[in-house]
């Protein structure tokens, strides 16, 4: 892990990191990388299938019935700002 990669990852994840945080994260990555080399890479998985789900996953279907589970007021109750039933989005156009 180098600083350029870290800067790119921060940008992709919409996070701004201080220099101290960057140093700490680089040390964290180095440690995780060493662990992976020592513990995971020694296990031969060339003939092993990936296991995404530990239990079988079943497709869930339900009747295609229109409904109104929540009112507009309820849906907007958690919004930072609303006005007459509309979400107020900060002005972001330069």
């Amino acid at each position: 892990m180098d600083r350029d990669t870290l800067r790119r990852l921060g940008m992709l994840n919409q996070l701004s990191l201080t220099d101290v945080q960057k140093e700490e994260i680089i040390a964290f990555f180095d440690e995780r990388e060493s662990e992976a080399k020592a513990e995971l890479d020694v296990i031969d998985t060339s003939d092993v299938e990936r296991m995404v789900h530990v239990m079988p996953v079943f497709t869930v279907v339900r009747e295609d019935v229109a409904s109104q589970p929540f009112t507009r007021e309820a849906l907007q109750a958690g919004a930072p700002e609303t006005d007459e039933g509309y979400w107020c989005v900060p002005r972001v156009l330069e």
């Binding site: 994840n13 994260i25 995780r32 990936r50 869930v60």
Partner: protein, 396 residues
């Protein structure tokens, strides 16, 4: 010491608390994060609906560490719970105080099991898919499980019976035919004590494990020390999978639709970046960056895909063990109390989850009691609880 946000007084006899990862409509749910400060859900978790229908009443919510990936809740936005220099878990304190008979929690990275072990309580992390996760804050969806904490195995069992069952609203909920296997209990007669999983534990933890093992032996259960080098690898694989899933799940928090919004920004990118940077804590930021890196083009096959394959190796290793044993016995933490000083290592939960990762990555049921952890075959949670109940009875 504030251990939970209390609701108005309720008259119900079966008082419970829920942790801050479980959605409630009459109290905020913050996942311990400034990002969700004051957020009130439009709907409640399925487990709360089921518990309510069975006569349980929620008296309040206990705080959790930010998105429940820390040790015992010390990264909560409202601060760590510390008493006499020891880190405390709000959920465990609520049960110990007797204010609530049970707690419903989301076990993401083992913090529940660690605090239960340290407080001599009982918890059950059921088989993945047997309890609905609908209405819980998603973090590491492939391994996190709604769990129950109480003072006794019987109390755990009673609440678990109520909240378990198929739920159409949860895509990972197992069909009733599968969940019914939980009631086909076979008594636990042979247990493998995994010696490789006892590395790094302090004297007191070791003594508790030893005492529990002797108690089981006195009950006629055969406890055999077994060496195994595969199960301990769970931690490294789980850290990769947990971080990758967390990175995706918290990408929805952008400061626009709900939650925290930064005050200072000049364009849309700054709005997102400043909101997330100001709201998220340091452990979470590191977990996001780490998860993102494991999913990058360069690392996907080398790291993430490898961890998924190792997960199968671990599941198969447990299956091999369960051919000879009914359960395995391990510690749930390395020490019986975390001094405040452990926080000097910001990433200690990525190491301490060595003891809890095996059950998380495999979805197997785990019961923590008397400071130790029993991991059983899929659907064996009732058998594990029955064994602990027997220990409790003998101990009286």
């Amino acid at each position: 010491m504030k251990i939970y946000n209390a609701k108005k007084e309720i008259t119900c006899d079966r008082k419970i608390v829920v942790d801050d990862m479980i959605l409630t409509t009459d109290m905020p749910t913050t996942a311990g994060s400034k990002m969700l400060d004051g957020y009130v859900s439009l709907f409640e978790a399925e487990v709360l609906t089921r518990a309510g229908n069975a006569g349980y009443g929620v008296i309040g919510k206990t705080s959790v560490g930010e998105f429940a990936i820390d040790l015992v809740g010390e990264t909560a936005q409202d601060g760590a719970l510390i008493e006499d220099g020891i880190l405390k878990s709000a959920t465990a304190e609520a049960i110990k105080s007797g204010d609530a008979i049970c707690a419903i929690t989301l076990d993401v990275n083992g913090s529940v099991r660690r605090s239960v072990a340290q407080n001599s309580l009982v918890s059950v992390k059921p088989t993945y898919g047997t309890v609905s996760r609908y209405g819980t804050i998603p973090v590491a969806c492939s391994g996190e499980t709604v769990s129950v904490v109480a003072k006794t195995a019987t109390a755990c069992r009673e609440l678990l019976d109520v909240i378990a069952g198929h739920d159409d609203k949860d895509g990972t909920s197992l069909p009733e035919t599968e969940i019914a296997k939980v009631s086909e209990t076979k008594p636990v007669r042979r247990i493998a004590l995994l010696t490789d999983m006892t590395k790094g534990v302090d004297e007191e933890t070791s003594a508790r494990l030893d005492a529990f093992s002797k108690k089981l032996t006195a009950l006629g259960v055969e406890v055999v020390s077994v060496e195994n080098s595969i199960i301990p690898v769970s931690r490294v694989a789980w850290n990769i999978l947990m971080s990758a899933e967390l990175c995706n799940n918290v990408s929805r928090y952008d400061g626009v639709k709900y939650g925290y919004r930064a005050q200072n920004f000049t364009n849309i990118d700054e709005l997102y970046t400043n909101s997330r940077t100001e709201a998220f804590g340091e452990l979470l930021k590191t977990a996001i960056i780490f998860g993102s890196e494991t999913l990058s083009t360069e690392n996907y096959m080398k790291v993430y895909d490898k961890a998924l394959r190792v997960r199968r190796v671990i599941v198969e290793e447990f299956a091999r063990l369960f051919a000879d044993y009914d359960a395995v016995l391990t510690p749930a933490c390395s020490m019986m109390a975390y001094p405040e000083s452990v926080r000097a290592d910001k990433y200690i939960s990525y190491k301490e989850n060595f003891y809890t990762a095996p059950a998380s990555i495999t979805g197997l049921p785990a019961v923590v009691a008397e400071g130790a952890q029993l991991i059983g075959k899929a659907f064996s949670e009732n058998a594990l609880l029955d064994l602990v109940a027997l220990c409790e009875k003998e101990g009286k």
